[in-house]
């Protein structure tokens, strides 16, 4: 059983390194005058706050393609595990597929180890994946959850660096949201206060 799961985990991300298979085709197409679709970015504010017993994650729901709002109600908080969730900013496809891949790996790990997953495992998987792609996978993530070690909140940047902080904001709205946090965060918040702080930060 363990061997099978190991094998499944290995094939979960096939070969190392960026796959350059399509580059020649893309260059040819560009020469023919084909305009490529631009990546859909999310123009996002995502935030996370640690409070007494847990983590509150928040995100807005607007997705833009250029200056047009293409999705009024998109889900930016992705499921990683029952006790771990991840907000994503940057290129919508990148955040979606990266978090889905890590969610699968976490499930396989849970089956392998027989234990509830930890936030730090998801963090390691995400940062090692993003670093391998040297920033080309444009996913800026706020990863949060509660595990046996307690509440945990991290940010992951597209180049693979991570931060461990009591309150974080990412995305284009991050400075406005951070100003709300800096003004209102205290150690030892309770759940209602944390939720209100997150709401105010996203609204900023």
């Amino acid at each position: 059983m363990a061997a099978v799961v190991d094998q499944m985990m290995k094939t979960a991300e096939e070969s190392k390194g960026f796959s350059f298979d399509n580059c020649r085709r893309n260059a040819f197409m560009a020469k023919q005058g084909v305009t490529f679709p631009t990546a859909r970015k999310t123009g996002t504010t995502i935030v996370g706050v640690i409070f007494n017993e847990g983590v509150v994650l928040g995100a807005d729901t607007r997705a833009t393609g250029g200056s047009i709002v293409c999705d009024l109600n998109c889900e930016k908080i992705h499921y990683i595990a029952d006790n771990v969730f991840c907000c994503g900013a940057g290129t919508a496809a990148d955040t979606e597929f990266t978090t889905r891949m890590v969610s699968s790996k976490m499930e396989l790990l849970k089956l392998r180890t027989g234990r509830e997953g930890r936030v730090i495992s998801a963090l390691r998987m995400l940062k090692q994946y993003l670093f391998r792609y040297q920033g080309y996978v444009s996913a800026a993530l706020v990863l949060g959850g509660v595990d046996v070690t307690g509440p945990a909140l991290y940010t992951v940047y597209p180049h693979g660096s991570t931060d461990k902080l009591p309150y974080v904001t990412m995305g284009s709205g991050s400075l406005a949201a951070m100003s709300v946090f800096e003004d209102g965060y205290k150690l030892g918040l309770d759940e209602e206060a944390a939720k209100k702080l997150v709401r105010d930060a996203i609204r900023a």
Binding site: S161, T162, P166, Y167, S179, V180, E182, D183, R203, A204
Partner: protein, 256 residues
């Protein structure tokens, strides 16, 4: 971008003697000894302004940064022009000193003419826009954003913003630089929650915004002045500091 870079842009395999400055060459045209402003040198960071029903509050810290060095920590970036106006300068401090000198001379000229007419805040705002736009058209900008806080001839509070490219507008709350990302949302939210803000409320709000700016802006200082234009009076406070709370950084963190 070349205008703002701190590095010499020389190609790699080049013999220095081939790159002698143009004006040393025998066949060089007469070089223009004047230089156009390419980048700011000593800079001031955010200026914040908020307009309440009874007056206007403007605030700026007292730092002149030399790049990333906090070099001049006792610089006054707010200037009382006359009884009706205070201006605050963001950007190059030398250019702001030039603006201050021009305005000072203007105030003296007004007094000398002695016909009882003085310039109110909208006039000064207009005048600044003309000056800054003109300089921008000559491709030699005064590298500043100026906030004009004051009252009109009728006594109404007035708050205006002029940019180095001549963008100008009025608003109930204005902020320059980093302040527009960090403090402007706070100012707007406070005005929404409390449209009948008093001057004291506005001053307290300014202190809160400047504190958050000190937390998050690398070129800010926790020493600032607050200027108030209300009831026909202009005052700029002595430099004060906000209380800061660093306890959130106390827990040892690391990066994972």
């Amino acid at each position: 971008m070349a205008l703002f870079s701190n590095h010499l842009h020389l190609p790699k395999n080049v013999d220095m003697k081939d790159r002698v400055a143009d004006f040393w060459r025998d066949d060089a045209p007469i070089a223009d000894p004047k230089k156009h402003t390419l980048r700011p040198i000593v800079t001031g960071t955010s200026v914040l302004g908020i307009k309440t029903k009874s007056g206007v509050v403007i605030a700026a810290d007292t730092l002149g940064s030399y790049g990333s060095l906090a070099r001049f920590r006792d610089v006054t970036r707010l200037m009382r022009v006359n009884d009706s106006t205070i201006i605050g300068g963001f950007g190059d401090y030398a250019d702001f000193q030039h603006i201050m000198k021009l305005l000072e001379q203007q105030t003296i000229d007004d007094k000398v003419i002695g016909d009882g007419v003085y310039r109110d805040a909208p006039s000064i705002h207009s005048w600044l826009r003309c000056v800054l736009y003109n300089r921008r058209n000559k491709m030699n900008p005064l590298w500043n954003t100026v906030i004009v806080a004051g009252s009109t001839y009728a006594g109404e509070p007035y708050l205006g913003y002029v940019d180095k490219i001549g963008v100008s507008f009025q608003d109930k709350s204005v902020a320059t630089g980093f302040g527009s990302y960090i403090a402007q949302p706070m100012l707007r939210k406070a005005m929404e929650e409390n449209p009948d803000m008093s001057i004291d409320d506005a001053k307290r709000l300014m202190v809160r915004c400047l504190r958050v700016l000190f937390y998050r802006d690398c070129r800010a200082l926790n020493r600032f002045q607050i200027g108030v234009v209300a009831e026909g009076q202009c005052t700029i406070s002595e430099p004060i500091s906000a209380e800061t709370d660093w306890s959130v950084g106390a827990n040892p963190s690391g990066y994972e």
